[in-house]
């Protein structure tokens, strides 16, 4: 059974089309919802929770229609919102227990479970301190405890590593992986950090400007970008770029190197022909980020990409940016 299913969902805020006839199928496991800021990720999550009413389309979560049974959905879903949302002068234990009661737990089990869940997310003795004094990382943990305390079947995490330091981010990603692997809770992680998604998710939904660019398993989607090379040829300047392109290679700059797709023999031939020193040529594995950037560029320049993208010509896939 699908964990969540969205059909033809649209939402507009004034003149901004936040989501435009979106179809999404979230399967069991851990799914990443990725897109740049303003892509429509948070809107989609709020629509799944029934916090916003769609302009058109329908959504179902855990088999419940969000429009007609929003309370049933919210009783079974845990949500970690983006940004600050915790009361500053209440202890973590009290607040998590309060939120457990709002999830339907009687007071005593709510307190006991709040203590257990705080411990699980790494808040042990700190849970007796007022939340206002917590670091961003600790506050994210409290929010995760709030999302987990009523034992949901699905977790919706909106930018869970937002504002965290590298260690805190590592810890949070480990916690998310544990939730999926050990607790058997399905997770939908919304983030703009593709590295986070690659670390913990099995599947991904890519959104851009209110439309779905691609969705499917990470291996499948990352694989749509063919392997290539990172090179440093001469000064990597516009002349080099043009020469490689003329030789039939798909090229685009990335930091200090050029990313090239095609035969490495052609790169060698161009270098020999022009007498440019080939200082570096290293193979690059296909990555989610490459795919996302490619699909995003395609969406910006033309019609939206199909839901499951197919690799087309190297030129179309990689483009040439000057």
């Amino acid at each position: 059974m699908l964990v969540a299913e969205v059909e033809g969902l649209s939402k507009r805020y004034g003149t901004v089309q936040a989501l435009d006839r979106v179809d999404v199928a979230i399967e069991p496991g851990c799914t990443g919802l990725v897109g740049s800021n303003g892509a429509g990720k948070s809107t989609l999550i709020k629509l799944l929770l029934g916090l916003l009413a769609p302009d058109q389309g329908r959504a179902a979560v855990l088999g419940y229609d969000v429009a007609t049974e929003p309370l049933a959905v919210r009783g079974r879903v845990g949500y970690l919102p983006e940004g600050a949302c915790l009361p500053g002068d209440v202890t973590a234990a009290d607040f998590v227990a309060f939120m457990a009661q709002l999830g339907g737990l009687p007071p005593r089990p709510a307190r006991e479970r709040a203590a257990e869940v705080c411990y699980q997310v790494g808040l042990d003795e700190e849970r007796y301190r007022a939340v206002g004094g917590f670091s961003t990382g600790m506050q994210q943990r409290v929010k995760l405890a709030v999302a987990l305390v009523h034992d949901p079947s699905l977790l919706l995490l909106d930018e869970p590593t937002d504002g965290m330091d590298p260690q805190g981010r590592e810890d949070m990603l480990e916690l998310i992986a544990r939730i999926r692997d050990e607790l058997g809770i399905d997770v939908l992680v919304s983030t703009h950090l593709l590295g986070d998604v690659e670390r913990v998710c099995d599947r991904v939904v890519m959104v851009h400007a209110g439309q779905v660019l691609a969705q499917g398993s990470i291996t499948e989607i990352a694989g749509t970008t063919e392997p290539g090379f990172g090179i440093q040829l001469g000064d990597n300047g516009p002349e080099v770029l043009a020469a490689l392109h003329t030789a039939g290679l798909a090229v685009r700059p990335s930091g200090e190197e050029l990313l090239v797709q095609g035969s490495s023999d052609l790169v060698r031939d161009v270098a020999a022909e022009r007498g440019w020193p080939l200082r570096r040529l290293v193979p690059r594995a296909p990555s989610l980020e490459e795919t996302f950037l490619r699909l995003q560029a395609a969406a910006q320049g033309g019609p939206p990409a199909p839901a499951v993208p197919q690799p087309d010509t190297p030129e179309a896939a990689w483009g040439v940016r000057r």
Partner: protein, 296 residues
């Protein structure tokens, strides 16, 4: 040979799914209401948050307990305390202060700190939230409006030479105490929550509410005593802070102070009760409109 007893127990502190009972809407409303009462009284919070509520509680209960204590020690020779009506008028002033601080405490931080983003992602409707917050404020305002006078009545009864005679002769007063206390509780609670629903800043809500109450009273007096126009006696209803006291005076038969606006306007208690009902209904409408539009 005896069986070896285990030296200790190993507890598995791993995550477990919750298999226990789950309660319904009533529990969720109650949880928000109880948390609200705790918040207003400053329970489980730092000592500074307890100063105002407990200070007002001491002011409301202190004289009553002191009087009853004196009656227990000295007997009826202590004489009569302020009448129930007079004491309720004193309490009404405290109620305004209490409601003006408690109402904003209940509603404003949830919006200012964005806690609603979490509350409304549980199976809690806006109506549940409104009901719970109103219940919390009614409980704490009722604590000041009703309990001290009921305690005073019980104290008077128990320390009288004949408790049964006192009870028989003054049972009407108990009814008046319950009626007046309930009316004041509902009036102040609705008005305070309506004011709090208009802003997410506690101080603004408190100052605004007190300003409107005291300002309308001053305006009504200025208009009545300085201006000359037909029907100027109707400005008596403009004074929001005067409405509860005048209703209480009428209910307990204390009469209005001579020379005051209430005395000269010529209206009686039911008129002020209707005025309070109109204000409370308007406050309820504002509150409902604001809370039902809250966004998570």
């Amino acid at each position: 040979m005896t069986e070896a007893t285990p030296a200790g127990t190993i507890y598995d502190r791993g995550y477990r799914h919750y298999e226990g009972p789950r309660e319904g809407r009533g529990r969720r409303v109650r949880a928000i209401a109880v948390a609200g009462v705790r918040r207003v009284l400053g329970l489980k919070r730092n000592w500074k948050t307890k100063v105002v509520p407990f200070g007002l509680l001491v002011l409301a209960f202190g004289p009553v307990f002191a009087f009853i204590g004196a009656r227990v020690l000295v007997g009826e020779a202590v004489g009569e305390f302020l009448g129930y009506g007079r004491y309720l008028r004193v309490v009404a002033g405290l109620l305004l202060l209490f409601a003006a601080t408690a109402g904003p405490e209940l509603l404003c931080p949830d919006r200012r700190q964005n806690v609603l983003a979490l509350i409304f992602t549980r199976p809690v409707t806006r109506a549940d939230y409104l009901l719970a917050k109103l219940a919390a404020l009614l409980a704490v305002v009722g604590l000041i409006a009703l309990v001290p006078l009921v305690v005073l009545f019980v104290g008077n009864t128990l320390t009288a030479d004949s408790a049964a005679t006192y009870l028989r002769q003054n049972l009407d007063d108990l009814g008046r105490i319950l009626l007046a206390g309930s009316v004041l509780t509902v009036f102040y609670s609705l008005v305070a929550l309506a004011a709090a629903s208009l802003t997410d800043r506690r101080a603004v809500a408190t100052a605004g509410l007190l300003g409107v109450f005291l300002g309308t009273s001053a305006l009504a007096n200025i208009l009545f005593f300085t201006a000359r126009f037909d029907g100027r006696r109707w400005v008596a209803f403009l004074s929001l802070s005067g409405l509860p006291g005048r209703f209480v005076d009428w209910l307990f038969g204390d009469g209005f102070d001579p020379g005051t606006l209430a005395d000269q306007a010529g209206f009686t208690g039911p008129g002020y009760l209707v005025a309070m009902a109109v204000v409370a209904a308007a406050a309820a409408a504002i509150l409902t409109w604001r809370v039902l539009r809250l966004r998570a």
